[in-house]
């Protein structure tokens, strides 16, 4: 290697070339506005230790992948997020998806369930079954999973405030199938910190929410060993407008807050940490995303070992699900969204995701049609079977650019992590409005870049082509709300209301004390207490969170 080789090339070769033909832009940056150099060489990486920075797949710090064989052993799970209308509608779509090759289920609940309310609540008007499946009681969950063997299929549930309730319902459905809770596998999102920061589907204030979350850590580590009781998420933070670095930093810092909460409860870190899982976005900038995933694994491994004293390598291993970026899709020229999703999905795979959801082309208009959902799934299958990228592990490892970018994202993320440490932790930072403001600023900055055409969205501020073709859309039957409410009222008449009242009363007492609440919730769901009734019981004890509105 020649001394100062790159500088020589820049002076003697690049500069004269640019004098004749200028570069396309003055500055090249990622979608997160991180400046990118023209060329990265070995010399730019500085002193580099393979063992310390990368090591081997399945070995600390897991930069190259969490498992020794990665996709050669087992492909990522193709886990398509889905749910709409009634439980029956959703059950039908799940059977279809499984027949088409999805290898795991993922439940999208409607907004009332997400907020811990029943379909007949005044605030549920117009919202029943419209952006997810309506679940009021265990009966709905039984219908959703009818004919689906829960000892063979794993399920992720996107639910936060009422996560413990839906977990309990899933356990109850499995038991009715003769499948014990020791056998079932899946995930509940259950990440309240990112709700306050970005997704905004909270119920209770931070302290009781964290109590409930740690209850699920404890319960699952003892009773449901194959379950991931949390999916610490960056997806929503990114969708709200953050940069890749903010997504990385805020997600991991949230994770650290949860580990701290578990330890403070008295749980042994190596007992619950192996089942903490993560969830990231796969946005447009191909290499930034890949570097982000690799940096995430490296940072988490270090944090678990050095900050939390974990001894079990499984506690240091960051496993994650990815979803392609919803916010990158366009209403204009919707068919081109397929190309976007393909690039994003490829980044997730080359970054070593354990599980992947690919968005459908029509999601800027409505929930996916069957055809659009199939194309999204086929996109993953083409990557898996035709592209060849799953034939080897961490194929971009050793790329000068990718290693430089991985290091860069790690260093920048640490700055945010340390800032939040200095604020007293993530809960304090949220109270102060810090992550929320960072995200709103980043979102505004990006919009202004789009307005000025410094950043391009094809079909929107460049290559605009007039009125887009009409595409078929999924319509939710307006009778869904009426039927769901009728069905709920009928169930309320048929169940043993004395027993329901007793269970809710026991739950209320337990909530005021220090018991693990999951068994009480499980008891209540089994007698067909509703999501709303259980959450109202907890609301009475915990109160409700209120956000201070700002922009």
């Amino acid at each position: 290697m020649s001394e100062g080789g790159k500088k020589k090339w820049e002076a003697q070769c690049l500069k004269p070339h640019l004098a004749k033909a200028a570069a396309r832009r003055k500055r090249f940056s990622t979608i997160s506005d991180l400046e990118i150099p023209a060329l990265v060489c070995e010399e730019d990486l500085g002193p580099y230790s393979y063992d310390q920075k990368l090591n081997y797949p399945g070995q600390y710090p897991f930069t190259r992948g969490v498992y020794p064989s990665m996709y050669r052993g087992r492909l990522w799970t193709m886990r398509q997020f889905s749910g709409f209308g009634t439980a029956k509608d959703t059950n039908k779509r799940y059977h279809y998806l499984l027949a088409q090759g999805t290898t795991g289920l993922s439940v999208a609940f409607h907004l009332p369930t997400i907020y811990g309310r029943d379909s007949d609540h005044p605030l549920s008007r117009g919202e029943v079954g419209v952006c997810g499946v309506a679940v009021d009681t265990l009966k709905d969950m039984e219908t959703i999973f009818k004919g689906i063997p829960l000892d063979k299929v794993t399920t992720s549930m996107t639910i936060n405030g009422p996560a413990a309730v839906l977990l309990a319902m899933y356990i109850a459905v499995a038991e009715k199938q003769g499948v014990s809770k020791k056998q079932i596998g899946g995930t509940i999102q259950n990440d309240i910190l990112k709700e306050y920061i970005a997704q905004k589907s909270w119920i209770f204030p931070p302290e009781p929410s964290l109590r409930l979350i740690v209850d699920t850590f404890e319960y699952c580590s003892n009773e449901v060993p194959r379950w991931n009781p949390i999916s610490i998420s960056g997806y929503h933070i990114r969708e709200a407008g953050s940069t890749a670095i903010q997504e990385l930093a805020f997600t991991l810092r949230d994770g650290m807050e949860y580990v701290k909460a578990g330890i403070e409860r008295g749980l042994e870190v190596d007992k619950f940490a192996p089942r903490l899982s993560f969830f990231f976005n796969a946005h447009n900038d191909f290499f930034e995303e890949i570097a982000k995933y690799r940096a995430a694994r490296r940072i988490w491994a270090k944090v678990m070992k050095e900050r939390f004293g974990a001894k079990n390598p499984e506690s240091m291993r960051l496993r994650f699900h990815t979803q392609t970026a919803g916010c990158s899709l366009t209403a204009a020229q919707p068919y081109i969204n397929v190309a976007r999703v393909t690039v994003q999905a490829l980044a997730a795979v080359m970054g070593g995701t354990q599980s992947l959801h690919t968005n459908s082309l029509d999601e800027t208009y409505a929930l996916p049609t069957e055809e659009a959902a199939t194309i999204a799934l086929r996109t993953q299958q083409i990557i898996a079977e035709e592209s060849g990228v799953a034939n080897t592990i961490d194929p971009l490892g050793g790329s000068y650019f990718v290693e430089w970018l991985t290091d860069k994202l790690e260093a920048e993320a640490w700055k945010y992590i340390e800032t939040i440490d200095k604020m007293g932790g993530m809960i304090e930072a949220i109270k102060y409005g810090y992550p929320q403001r960072e995200i709103a600023d980043a979102a505004y900055r990006y919009q202004k870049q789009l307005d000025r055409e410094e950043k391009i969205t094809v079909g929107v501020n460049k290559y605009v082509s007039g009125e887009s073709a009409e595409i078929p859309l999924l319509r939710i039957d307006p009778n869904v709300e009426r039927e769901q409410v009728r069905s709920l009222n009928r169930l309320r008449k048929e169940r043993d209301n004395r027993v329901v009242k007793k269970c809710l009363s026991r739950l209320e007492s337990a909530a005021s004390g220090k018991d693990n609440l999951v068994p009480y919730v499980l008891e209540a769901v089994k007698v067909y207490a509703s999501v709303g009734e259980i959450c109202d019981t907890l609301r009475a004890v915990f109160g409700e969170y209120e956000e201070v509105a700002g922009f």
Binding site: L111, P112, V130, Y365, Y444
Partner: protein, 133 residues
């Protein structure tokens, strides 16, 4: 535009918690010189109309991504009429199929801005549509 600043209420109805668009639009309008009040999340149509009347706004901007738009917009328009506040105009944005955009405009919603809209055009709309006040 006269010395009186145009007042805009940006509202997030129902259970939908996606506020990125609403906040970006609110900020763009404020930066362009409008007086902007943001309701925050989880507003009912009644709360929105109440705020609009109390704050004496010229126009309400409703952001909705949950699919409940065909319930919310008509309700707000109905309540504005009921409260004799029909002079307050309504526009909006979010995840709304084109067929519904047509229906909403036929009901009296001035404009719907879907994802990808340049904020300059929203500012232009604000200036043009209220100038005729």
């Amino acid at each position: 535009m006269g010395s009186e600043k145009i007042r805009i209420l940006v509202a997030k109805p129902g259970l939908d918690g996606h506020d990125r668009g609403a906040k970006v639009v609110a900020r763009a309008l404020r930066d362009a010189g409008f007086e902007v009040i943001y309701t925050g999340l989880h507003q009912t149509p009644e709360m929105i109309v109440e705020s609009a009347v109390q704050e004496d706004v010229d126009i309400i901007g409703i952001s909705i991504l949950s699919g409940a738009h065909m319930t919310v917009f008509p309700e707000v328009l109905k309540l504005l009429k009921k409260k004799k506040a029909g002079h307050i105009k309504v526009f909006g944005g979010g995840i709304i199929p084109r067929d519904d955009v047509k229906k909403l405009k036929a009901m009296g919603v001035l404009e719907i801005f879907l994802s990808g809209t340049n904020t300059d055009s929203i500012v232009e709309f604000g200036k043009k549509k209220i100038a005729g006040k």
